[in-house]
């Protein structure tokens, strides 16, 4: 049994709260460059240029790329041979968020659902834990903005609808989302499982590297078709018209009950922030 002090988790979360918000992933920047090259609309091209410039300013000046520095969603893949010492996992993560958001001059956006009173330190984080083999802990910090989060949907389709119903729903969701989630976007969707399982898998699908191949050939084919269908809607960057609304579509699937066909769609804006630490 390997022992890890939760103080290490606090420190990793503190750092990643900031680096995720300041330093956009290289895969996203490459996707902007691809977007700039292939975009047909002049306004769309100007938007891609602005997004590249924005990412550079954020990285160089250590300021958040977007004012909405998000809900702190933390994925924890806990090796089953790890024993955490020194405190509780959730408290350690929240302490990391608290420090990271305060020190990094990040916006605190978490509030009570009814009174809307702000918790003032961006806690609590949403912690999604899974127990995996091994003696390591993988932490992924994925701050998620409210504008794109509001576009997420979970639905229970009729099994007879099959692939067509799944694809139609995803395309329609993007069409309805339009300019709200700050396109260009990444679309994450998961079919199967239970409604809550699908929602988590779809969220996690957003984290896959842009441009990476889905290992499941059937899903890879669906991703390519969805990309074409979504971008053929013509919504383009910021929904102002153009070729590139989606930078990527990432699908996942899970076995489901014989009576169900759950589908979750999560949309991530171009501020696609996530950092990873392995302890």
């Amino acid at each position: 049994m390997r022992e890890i002090d939760v103080a290490e988790i606090t420190e990793a979360v503190r750092q990643m709260s900031q680096t995720a918000n300041f330093d956009l992933g290289k895969d996203v920047i490459r996707a902007f460059e691809w977007g700039l090259e292939t975009e047909e609309s002049a306004t769309g091209k100007a938007i891609f240029k602005a997004l590249i410039e924005n990412a550079m300013i954020a990285r160089d000046e250590k300021v958040p790329m977007c004012q909405d520095t998000g809900f702190s969603v933390v994925f924890v893949d806990m090796g089953q041979d790890v024993h955490l010492v020194g405190g509780s996992l959730e408290a350690a993560i929240n302490e990391g968020v608290r420090r990271g958001y305060e020190e990094g001059f990040l916006r605190k956006s978490i509030c009570d659902p009814f009174t809307r009173a702000n918790t003032k330190d961006n806690t609590p984080a949403v912690v999604i834990t899974q127990i995996v083999d091994g003696d390591r802990v993988k932490l992924i910090m994925a701050p998620k903005g409210g504008g794109s989060e509001n576009m997420a949907r979970v639905t229970m389709l009729t099994p007879s609808g099959g692939k067509k119903a799944v694809m139609d729903f995803i395309v329609q969701r993007c069409q309805e989302a339009g300019s709200n989630p700050c396109p260009p976007v990444i679309v994450g969707a998961a079919v199967g499982g239970t409604p809550e399982k699908a929602a988590i898998l779809a969220k996690r699908a957003l984290l896959r590297q842009i441009g990476s191949q889905n290992p499941d050939p059937e899903l890879a084919e669906m991703e390519a078709e969805l990309m074409t269908r979504i971008n053929n809607l013509g919504m383009g960057p910021q929904g102002l018209g153009g070729r590139n609304y989606a930078l990527a579509v990432h699908l996942d699937k899970h076995p489901c009950h014989i009576a169900t066909l759950p589908l979750a769609v999560q949309i991530c804006c171009h501020a696609s922030r996530h950092k990873e630490t392995i302890l």
Partner: protein, 185 residues
């Protein structure tokens, strides 16, 4: 891209009436910031017949909740938030003289109609380009509702703030026009 139209605030009815959906504009002057929580309070004041905490005539309201300013800076990152959450309140503010709104995303049909009726326009800034947009903000002071934190009403002095006209006083909608142009059936 078309030429950039320079606008100064407060906006006059004449200046607003000349704008067309798709026009690129560069705004200099004062913007007032407000998100949904502040809008609710502003509209409550109007309902009670009380004065607003700033001069609304010709005003441009920017839907933004900036991130905190680092030491030595006037503002943190400051891009637009999604506008439909303000739809329920916008007509009342247009009635008392608001001339411009800056946000991102589509407005409800009744808000678009109200813009025609009251001669006001809706601009979009690039959602998420918040570090870049912050460069055009020269000073910021809180004018009301400090308890709302990022949602407080702020008076922002801006120079060459870049935006595009989405809805003009004729009822046109750039989202619709732009998307139709690039749609592949």
């Amino acid at each position: 891209m078309s030429q950039i139209i320079k606008l100064a605030t407060p906006l006059t009815e004449e200046a607003v009436s000349l704008l067309k959906s798709g026009d690129q504009v560069s705004i200099s002057g004062v913007l007032y910031t407000a998100r949904d929580a502040a809008h609710k309070r502003l509209v409550d004041l109007l309902d009670q017949g009380k004065p607003l905490p700033f001069d609304i005539s010709g005003a441009v309201i920017y839907y933004v909740g900036p991130s905190p300013a680092k030491p030595g800076r006037v503002v943190g990152s400051a891009g637009p938030t999604t506008s439909y959450r303000m739809d329920a309140y916008s007509e009342l503010l247009m009635e008392v003289g608001m001339k411009g709104m800056i946000g991102k995303g589509k407005r409800a049909p009744d808000v678009v109609d109200a813009m025609v009726k009251h001669k006001a326009v809706y601009f979009a800034a690039i959602g998420g380009a918040a570090a870049l947009i912050a460069r055009s903000i020269k000073s910021v002071e809180i004018v009301a509702y400090e308890d709302l934190g990022p949602e407080a009403v702020r008076r922002m002095v801006v120079e060459d703030f870049q935006a595009v006209v989405i809805n003009d006083v004729h009822g046109a909608d750039l989202y619709q026009m732009g998307q139709e142009k690039y749609r592949i059936a």
